[in-house]
Amino acid sequence: MRKTSFFWVSLLTLAQVSVSCKTEPDSPVPEVITPTPLTWTKPSYFPAPVYDLSKNPLTKEGVELGRFLFYDGILSRTDKIGCGTCHQQTAAFTHHGHDISHGVDDLLGTRNTPSVQNMAWNTSFFFDGGVHDLDGVPQVPIQNPVEMGERVGNVVEKLKKTPVLGAAKQVDYPKMFKAAFGTNEINADRMMQALSQFMLTMVSANSRYDYFKLGDASALTVQEKEGMTLFKQNCASCHSGELFTDNNFRNNGLIPNKINDQGRYAITLNESDRLKFKVPSLRNVGLTAPYMHDGRYYTLQEVLDHYANDQNSNSADVIYASPTLDPILQLSGQKQGIKLTPAEKQSIIAFLRTLNDEQFISDKRFSDPGVGTSL
């Protein structure tokens, strides 16, 4: 390969020399676009990323393209629903106040919008973990008939036709793809790579918990520190590590919902996976209500009441026993669930709120560049 290119370069050089000798006007030199490399920094106490950054090195232009694509409704059949419609920054990229979300033509989905954060560390995506590669994530909402209801192939065709004459938003995607990838070719692989680049930059590690972790003992109150101890004793076996998830699939005893969502089972058809859902990260959990795979709980209080198997809140829910119920919730000789006093629950909730990352939800680098639509 190298020899061949050397040959062609030599040939071209000779050709240019011969052209120069004739003192004809210089032929236009093709414009060489080199995207600006962007350094991706891992918080020191986070594990190594799962995503292979070497196969899709971040660049300033690639990330910027990804940000536009993330917010642009052009990804949907109606041109009105972007990723940012349901993944709103103020709610740590979830759909604030929505148990389930509405997509094109106000069609309803079946699961609660998960947060887009710290994607580099995810071993799988979605509540059922069907997808294992971040580059394979965007096509799922794009092509889901009740989310964006579009085909990726058609999105690529629409992007090629920008900027659209007379449109309110004049985005020149061929130009942006050229800036990000060197040539103005628009294809699905590049589109997914740009979206991944943007999502990889969305790292949340600036909460009060993180300041405490980095040595500022005053970052947490006494109650929050108590909550942290209780959390480690009672919750961290599943919500483990600095990402607060073991990336596993578990049945946490929720009563099956009306559509009888079987979770992970739909991917594996393995009986032992029935009613199991991905353990979500708890970073920014104070900002991402409602909770659970179907958004059935609107407050953290309800969530803890569920795990404690207490019916002292508005929720009538109890832990639902089924063959796949997580062993942690059924210790022998005691009531199902995790024993917690009301005061302990309050401390845990106080601790969970220290995982809120105000910087993350206001960082302009992650904000809508002016192409988005929020519903």
Binding site: F126, D128, G130, V131, H132, D135, G136, Q139, V140, Q143, N144, R151, V152, G153, V156, N187, A188, D189, M192, A266, I267, T268, L269, N270
Partner: protein, 273 residues
């Protein structure tokens, strides 16, 4: 058949004379062990004795249910041409993936080039996309295997939420269908699972040409005309009822449909050229 035979004799005669001419001309030989030719496999979708007509034709399955077909697509891969002596020629894997679509006539003609000359007595292929290829990274899955571009994307022949190809997609309407739309849907896929073992609906079809032969020479490009009988999707080791199982996608039941459709292919005839 008679026509084919006379064409064949004509060609053989022509070849024979050509040989003489060539022989007179010099030392070139006609029988070249490395000689390559081409062969075309046509996938003709039918319903019993009738040709399949999308949307307009009304048919009846083995359960006595009438139905129409609005969509029929399936993947054919890993083609092997069989010789009478038991040996075979395997089409190089990179060039052995095809998406047959009833709505696209060109997709029903699978042309294989660089085929060693000789006599072929049968064909074998996978209905679907083998697990090895299914698990490969995207750069190794282009052309009809590109899930984001071209026919596979347009026809939604890939499950993005549970990554893997849909091997066969049959949709239509039936008065027996329980869906409020009156439609039935068979989306059959499952290559065995990426991270854990799961449903494997890969099936290998084998069609023996009976006494017939497809003779590939450097001049003759035979066309093997296969028929795919849609009634077999509903009828085989399991009788599939639209009323009882009118919507089958990634579920255990899909294996019965895969077991049925693997037997839907048979030889109609062979054109010598």
């Amino acid at each position: 058949m008679k026509i084919n035979f006379s064409y064949l004799s004509l060609y053989i005669s022509v070849l024979f004379f050509a040989t003489i001419l060539v022989s007179c001309d010099g030392p070139q030989t006609v029988v070249d062990p490395n000689a390559k030719g081409s062969i075309t496999i046509e996938f003709d979708n039918v319903v019993g004795a009738r040709d399949l007509a999308l949307n307009t034709g009304t048919y009846q399955n083995a359960s006595g249910e009438s139905f129409t077909v609005s969509k029929l697509n399936y993947f054919i891969s890993n083609i092997k041409l069989l010789r009478v002596d038991g040996s075979s020629y395997t089409v190089p894997q990179d060039s052995s993936y095809f998406l047959v679509r009833e709505a696209d006539a060109a997709s029903q003609e699978v042309k294989l080039n660089n085929v060693p000359t000789g006599e072929y007595s049968g064909i074998q292929f996978v209905v679907g996309v083998d697990s090895l290829r299914s698990a490969m990274e995207k750069s190794k899955r282009k052309g009809v295997l590109d899930e984001n571009t071209g026919p596979t994307n347009e026809e939604a022949m890939y499950w993005d939420w549970n990554p893997g190809y849909i091997f066969l997609k049959l949709e239509g309407t039936s008065p027996a269908a329980m869906a409020p739309t009156g439609k039935f849907y068979y989306h059959i896929g499952g290559f065995g699972g990426l991270t854990a073992k799961t449903l494997n609906n890969l099936r290998t079809a084998k069609v023996d040409f009976g006494g017939k032969r497809a003779i590939v020479t450097d001049k003759l490009t035979p066309e093997v005309h296969l028929m795919a009988d849609i009634l077999k999707v509903f009828d085989g080791s399991t009788k599939v009822s639209i009323a009882k199982n009118g919507m089958v996608m990634f579920t255990d039941y899909s294996k019965f449909i895969a077991d049925n459709y693997v037997n839907m292919f048979n030889l109609d005839h062979i054109h010598a050229d």
